[in-house]
């Protein structure tokens, strides 16, 4: 799917004046409490140092020898600087802790897409229905928030299309994150559908058990419908398109049977053959191909 839109974003809610639906009140007050405490501490410490240095400077001006003044002053300025930087970095750290408490929009959808990208191309992972449901729930929440903001704007009598106030920006954020989630979900489902289509060409119309388990119900339905569509096309064209995947070098090839297929298999020239395990046969290429693609025979090239 085209992810080329320039409005990619991962928004952090707290920067906008609208109330985040996800951050609970408890978390918010916990942040305020701890950061307030720390800031107050810094503030009083600074005041104390400042007062002390004022006293020291006064005594200098009055000509009194304050033996500890000079190094103390130096020490004060040094400590003040250090403390300033330190407190700044501590403030940022506290903000970072807050970030982690706060909910990042679009992260779960991003995880879904990453799951697709991390696997090998064409290989399906089991359908992650929990994460899928969570993203869908996030979408409906965004929609509720969006509607409530738009209603608020309409109640205030503002024109929804053109006003640029806080509610509008909040609504825009919700809309954009909804659209982003939609794109991620569609990409997930669409790419899996493409992998299923390629499975049809590689393996055939019947899927083995291990692969069936990885598909969700809707995907199994899609596979059946798609294979029916392909079969009807092939019957209209009167050609089987799933054989002959490789350019032919010889009309007949030598094969060795890997798994017991049984006997009495009817080949294209109406002869019956007995395919016992480890037996070697000289077959027509088109007959052998269907067994080779399923892994039941191998071609002897030596």
């Amino acid at each position: 799917m085209r992810e080329s839109r320039s409005t990619e974003f991962l928004a952090v809610d707290f920067e906008f004046p609208t109330k985040s639906p996800a951050t609970t009140e408890i978390q918010r007050s916990r942040f305020l409490h701890s950061s307030l405490r720390f800031l107050l501490l810094i503030f009083f410490f600074r005041i104390f140092l400042f007062k002390f240095s004022i006293a020291a400077i006064d005594s200098l001006h009055q000509g009194q020898a304050v033996p500890i003044c000079h190094p103390v002053l130096i020490g004060y300025f040094y400590a003040h600087n250090l403390l300033g930087q330190f407190s700044l970095s501590l403030k940022l750290f506290a903000k970072g802790c807050f970030f982690r408490n706060c909910k990042m929009y679009g992260r779960k959808a991003c995880q879904l897409v990453k799951e697709l990208a991390s696997g090998e191309k064409g290989q399906l992972t089991p359908f992650n229905s929990d994460l899928f449901e969570q993203v869908v729930a996030e979408c409906s929440q965004h929609h509720l928030e969006l509607q409530s903001l738009i209603r608020k704007m309409q109640e205030e009598g503002l024109d929804v299309q053109t006003t640029r106030n806080a509610e509008h920006h909040g609504a825009l954020i919700h809309h954009l994150s909804l659209v982003r989630n939609k794109r991620c979900l569609m990409a997930y489902v669409y790419n899996r559908a493409e992998a299923i289509q390629s499975l049809l060409w590689k393996i055939g119309h019947v899927l083995p058990q291990e692969i069936e388990e990885k598909l969700c119900h809707a995907e199994a339905e899609y596979f059946k419908k798609h294979s029916a569509a392909l079969k009807s096309y092939m019957s209209k064209v009167q050609l089987d398109l799933t054989v002959d995947m490789v350019p032919p070098k010889d009309p007949y090839i030598q094969v060795r049977v890997l798994d017991d297929i049984g006997d009495g298999i009817v080949l294209s020239d109406d002869k019956t053959a007995n395919f016992a395990r480890h037996s070697m046969h000289f077959l027509k290429r088109t007959d052998a191909e269907q067994f080779i693609s399923r892994g039941l025979m191998e071609e002897l090239t030596g």
Partner: protein, 226 residues
């Protein structure tokens, strides 16, 4: 079809090549190569495919007759080989087209120009494919999303164009060759001030060029893709 067996003959090269290039197998080979290399679907060669089918049928009957008549197995296997190779070309041509349709089914169904390039059976297949895929997307995703966001073509009701349909990338670079001297090809990419630069192609020389620039020429048959 018997042209693949005349390799040992010492005909003058010009005549031989013109003889080769007009046989149906050569034409099918060219169509197959173009279809494989092009990023989007090309026009369906209805007449060619019809003729090829008839020839394959004839060839099959001939092989059966000859093998029943007991002619030596070597020449029968040569005929059989020829038949197999022609069948492979036909099957691969149709297969490549079906896979392209599967990949870009929404875009093809939407664009008239591309829709007209399909054969009748391919159109039926494409119609069924769009319905299946649409149903699948709606069942798994779209029905669960809020109302204004349920379209599989647009991101939301506010989008101005259909931005959720994957399209073929016409900007891919392809290797091509032309048979005659061509001038006046305008390059689509390149720095903005050079965009009006006209480009010429000499016969028989390989060029690596953006597909968009030579699209019309490929369709008219003047350029071959490799």
């Amino acid at each position: 079809m018997a042209s693949s067996e005349v390799e040992g003959l010492s005909l003058p090269t010009d005549d031989y090549e013109t003889l080769l290039s007009t046989t149906d197998v050569e034409l099918l080979k060219r169509a197959w190569r173009n279809e494989k290399a092009a990023p989007e679907i090309l026009r369906f060669e209805t007449d060619l495919i019809g003729r090829i089918r008839e020839q394959i049928q004839l060839m099959e009957e001939t092989v059966e007759e000859k093998s029943a008549a007991g002619i030596d197995p070597l020449s029968i296997s040569l005929y059989q080989m020829d038949l197999d190779r022609a069948q492979f070309l036909l099957r691969s041509y149709l297969r490549v087209r079906i896979q392209k349709i599967e990949k870009f089914v929404f875009h093809i169904a939407k664009t008239d120009e591309l829709w007209n390039k399909l054969s009748k059976e391919e159109k039926n297949f494409a119609r069924r494919c769009t319905e299946d895929l649409k149903q699948h997307l709606e069942d798994s995703v779209l029905s669960k999303l809020p109302e204004n966001y349920q379209s599989f073509q647009k991101q939301s009701v506010i989008s101005e164009e259909d931005d959720m349909i994957p399209e073929a990338q016409l900007d891919t670079f392809v290797v091509c060759r032309s048979k005659e001297y061509l001038t006046g090809i305008q390059l689509e990419d390149g720095p903005v001030d050079d965009r009006s630069m006209l480009f010429e192609m000499e016969p028989g020389v390989l060029y690596f060029i953006c597909y968009k620039s030579i699209k019309a020429l490929v369709e008219s048959g003047k350029i071959d893709l490799l």
